[in-house]
């Protein structure tokens, strides 16, 4: 058997272990020795230090459950040192979930009646720490006895033990009520404190007890006065305040007793005014007492002068240098901003200043409070400050502040400028984890009120985008609600039909309805009918949209899912940038176009086209310019134009003035190239093909090859049909990335079918790229 080393030796050995592995070795050896020692019947005086060693090992995180029975044995030992460690072990290793805990009930019972008060105190402490409901029921009469007849040392512990018992077994509150009442007459602060805590606990649990204990208000006021007015008491003084712990507890009890009760509140008015004015607020202790006083004043039925005094104290706290004090001031103001709104508004300036504080907790509180203070009169300045704050926020904080921005937006309502809508939508797309919460909240906002255009627009957009999340129902941050497909469609239809909705808002709603067609499963027919109804709407924009969406249903159903896919994250962009001024009013026939590509189909393309769709209807309200965000030049609008060629003969906007280099010219087919550097190693090459012969060329495709180290990515070509006499061109974009900066060459293979049906192929090599 290995010799057992003293506790301190073992601690030293563990700490000197250089690696985790070594430490584990030491601990395993020690645990083995401890186990062996536990198995021995009588170990002399070494038992307590074995258990202490085990407790140390347990604190390091290693398993120590084999010590539970040893704890039980030690508690039953007659020796104080062993009892002490045994009870400590019981508090650390045994909780009410372990079966072994019941075994110590009898020992505790015996020790509660022990002649030595320190043994009694051990038992009381352990019972209050880990006593289960059965143990409490068993030992409650003992505790009650101790509450009445023992010295103050035991009484104070018994009082807190009673608090624990009442928490575990509510009915036993009745048992302790009379003893608690009589304890208030004690002089000993410890006992008084325990008594106040016990009464608080009884009043919180039981309204009848609350009624009965209201009679103690005069006694409590008396005790409190004694503490506040009395001179210096060395026993209980903390920085000039006499027993702040007791003062705070009494104030809390007074709050509970005075709530909703005029007489009780009147009885404490003077006292509260006295405490509020006399307490020294230079140190934290004083502020702790003042804080509790303020909370009490604001919670009971106090007279208005006292309330003003309380809010002023909070205002003083807001200006305090100590961050903690500013933080709790804002927490308290948050609680009363509903009831004493004007009083809090007076301090709005300071609160908004706190948005710029460096501390995250203070900032969050300031944000919540600022949002609560937003009203019709100060909306402009507040929104400015809040948007400033949001833009300077780190992303983690952004999502939580977004959550609150939404209800604020609802309040802001009609006053909000147009750019808030795109800003908000951009923020929403950026915080993907909040989509579910956002859409739920906005849906509910939509149900209650559809009069505010900005909010309705954002809500419609979100429902369309994240409709699947809305219908799924579950959402962590908000209460679950079952939204059916019909409900969502009803909401959108209400917006569509309401006379309060502007045309822009209706446009949002119609698009959202269309988007939902891919996100829901059952009510697609309903959507079709809504869309076709609007095909004959008086409003030209809506009509155009409706007809196009109808066509999506009829002819392009296979592409509908791709077209209406989820939007990519929007990058922040200069506002007001529209994509190609191709506004048209006429409704055109939709031409089929076979979109053939050599490169992978970009998922962003369909979304691109949807936005082109929206944009082509001249919707300047549309804040989304993903095509610009994706960095594609204007020529890609032709891609959308081909798929849903509404504007047939419209001129496309000319490309940016980069040098156009002809690279191939043969048989009337010409290919030109424009080079654009996009980054340090990347560039975009645009190939434009045209046909100057008298006959059409079809199935026109381009393939490209580059040196090994260069990365090539071919975007979808604009089409593959080259009409005769250069009536239209085909463009193909190629994205290149040349990280090793090798000499860039590109070989292009051109293949097409002539109008006679013969296939033609040719290759051209480009060795130099202009504009590089």
């Amino acid at each position: 058997m290995s010799p057992s080393i003293p506790l301190q030796e073992m601690i030293r050995a563990i700490r000197s272990a250089r690696t985790q592995c070594e430490e584990r070795g030491v601990i395993q050896r020690e645990c083995a020795a401890i186990r062996a020692q536990f198995r021995q019947v009588d170990n002399g005086g070494a038992r307590s230090h074995n258990l202490a060693k085990l407790l140390y090992v347990h604190m390091l995180g290693y398993p120590a459950h084999f010590g539970q029975m040893e704890c039980v044995r030690m508690i039953a030992s007659p020796r104080y040192s062993e009892k002490r460690v045994g009870y400590l072990g019981a508090m650390m290793l045994l909780d009410e979930k372990q079966d072994a805990s019941l075994l110590i009930t009898n020992s505790i019972k015996n020790d509660l009646a022990h002649s030595n008060q320190y043994v009694q105190s051990l038992a009381l402490c352990t019972l209050a720490c880990m006593g289960s409901a059965e143990m409490c029921r068993d030992l409650a009469p003992e505790i009650d006895r101790l509450l009445r007849a023992s010295n103050s040392y035991i009484k104070k512990k018994a009082a807190l033990c009673a608090v624990h018992i009442v928490r575990k077994v509510h009915d036993l509150g009745e048992l302790f009520a009379p003893a608690a009442r009589s304890l208030l007459a004690e002089k000993n602060h410890g006992v008084l404190h325990g008594a106040v805590v016990l009464i608080t606990q009884l009043c919180e649990r039981n309204p009848e007890a609350l009624e009965r204990f209201r009679k103690t208000v005069p006694d409590l006021v008396q005790i409190m006065k004694g503490l506040v007015i009395s001179g210096y008491s060395p026993e209980h003084d903390v920085a000039g305040i006499s027993d702040p712990f007791l003062q705070v507890r009494i104030l809390r009890l007074l709050r509970i007793l005075g709530r909703h009760n005029e007489t009780a509140s009147d009885a404490m008015n003077d006292l509260l005014a006295q405490v509020a004015t006399n307490t020294d607020s230079t140190k934290t202790v004083g502020n702790a007492v003042l804080y509790e006083t303020v909370l009490t004043v604001l919670d009971i039925k106090s007279e208005s002068g006292l309330r003003v005094l309380a809010v002023n104290i909070l205002g003083r706290f807001l200006l305090n240098n100590d961050r903690n004090i500013r933080y709790i001031a804002m927490t308290s103001l948050q609680r009363i901003v509903g009831t004493d709104h004007n009083a809090v508004q007076r301090h709005r300036g300071t609160i908004v200043d706190c948005l710029k504080d460096q501390d995250a907790s203070v900032k969050r509180r300031a944000l919540e409070l600022s949002l609560a203070l937003v009203s019709a009169s100060n909306i402009r300045t507040m929104m400015k400050e809040l948007l400033l704050f949001l833009s300077s926020c780190p992303p983690g904080a952004q999502s939580s502040s977004c959550q609150r921005h939404i209800p604020c937006g609802r309040k802001a309502g009609g006053d909000v400028r147009d750019e808030t809508v795109p800003n908000l939508i951009q923020l929403i797309t950026n915080t993907s984890e909040l989509h579910c919460y956002t859409v739920h909240k906005l849906y509910r906002a939509l149900l209650t009120d559809i009069s505010q255009p900005s909010l309705v627009q954002v809500a419609c957009w979100c429902i369309g985008e994240y409709g699947d999340l809305l219908l799924k129902g579950e959402c962590q941050e908000t209460e679950p609600s079952q939204v059916t497909e019909d409900d969502a469609l009803d909401a959108l239809e209400t917006v569509l039909q309401s006379h309060m909705s502007s045309p822009a808002t209706r446009g949002f709603a119609l698009t959202a309805t269309m988007k939902l067609s891919t996100r829901i499963t059952e009510n697609v027919d309903r959507i079709r009918s809504i869309v076709s109804i609007y095909g004959s709407c008086m409003d030209v924009e809506l009509q155009q949209r409706a007809v196009e969406y109808n066509a999506l249903f009829r002819k392009y159903d296979h592409m509908r899912a791709a077209v209406l896919e989820r939007m990519p994250v929007i990058e922040k962009n200069s506002s007001g940038h529209t994509n190609g001024e191709t506004a048209g009013d006429a409704v055109k026939e939709i031409q089929p176009a076979a979109v053939k590509q050599t490169g992978p189909l970009l998922p962003q393309q369909p979304a691109n086209q949807v936005c082109d769709l929206l944009d082509l209807l001249g919707g300047s309200e549309e804040p989304l310019q993903p095509s610009t965000a994706l960095g594609l030049p204007n020529s890609t609008s032709t891609a959308g134009g081909d798929l849903l060629d509404l504007l047939g003969g419209l001129e496309l906007t000319p490309l940016a003035p980069a040098p156009t280099v002809p690279v191939y010219e043969k048989d009337g087919v010409s290919l030109t190239l424009i080079c654009e550097k996009t980054s340090d190693s990347g560039m975009t090459v645009t190939l434009t093909a045209s046909n100057s012969t008298d006959s059409d060329i079809s199935v026109f495709t381009l393939q490209a090859a580059v040196p090994k180290s260069v990365q090539l990515h071919m975007k979808a070509p604009s089409g593959d049909f080259l009409p005769a006499r250069g009536a239209a061109k085909v463009t193909q974009m190629v994205a290149l990335n040349n990280p090793n900066k090798v000499n860039l060459k590109m070989r292009i293979r051109i293949s097409y079918n002539t109008s006679q049906g013969s296939a033609y192929q040719d290759t051209v090599q480009i060795d130099s790229f202009p504009g590089l």
Binding site: K156, G194, E235, V238, V248, N324
Partner: protein, 154 residues
């Protein structure tokens, strides 16, 4: 009431843990991990109060030890700071210029002192001197009994 009190070093090593509600071992470990990572991540001059689940966390750093106290939502945070400070004063009085090593090598004494100051998540004695006197008396009781049994305590 107070829910738990944790003491840990700047490297996140636990020096003392006192739980005032029954929690499973696994849950305790998780809470310790959460607390250490949350508190150690805080900037030096930031607010001492945090929100975590439905509790308020009050922490304070004394030399190389972080004292982390979790209280119910309706408790007074400033008073909780005072509670932490009072405990440190008690330790200081007992050990004489207490440092982290004292708490490491005499952890059971730290627990005994805590048990004389707090019970069941509430303060039991508001006077420093009374608490100190009680600790000394208990220690005396232990020693006399040990002397009597002529065996060392630990």
């Amino acid at each position: 009431m107070m829910r738990f009190l944790l003491l840990f070093s700047r490297q996140g090593k636990l020096r003392l843990q006192k739980w005032f509600t029954p929690i499973s071992e696994r849950e305790k470990k998780k809470i310790i991990r959460d607390m250490t990572s949350m508190v150690l991540a805080r900037q030096p001059r930031s607010c001492n109060f945090l929100h975590w689940k439905d509790l308020k966390i009050i922490y304070k750093r004394y030399a190389s030890l972080y004292f982390c106290l979790a209280v119910d939502n309706q408790e007074n945070e400033l008073l909780a700071l005072e509670v932490i400070h009072r405990y440190v004063e008690l330790l200081d009085k007992y050990f004489g210029n207490v440092c982290e090593l004292d708490i490491i090598f005499n952890f059971e004494k730290a627990y005994f002192i805590l048990d004389e100051f707090l019970i069941g998540g509430e303060i039991q004695e508001t006077s420093k001197q009374v608490v100190n006197r009680c600790i000394e008396s208990s220690d005396m009781l232990q020693e006399t009994m040990e002397e009597y049994m002529s065996k060392p305590a630990f």
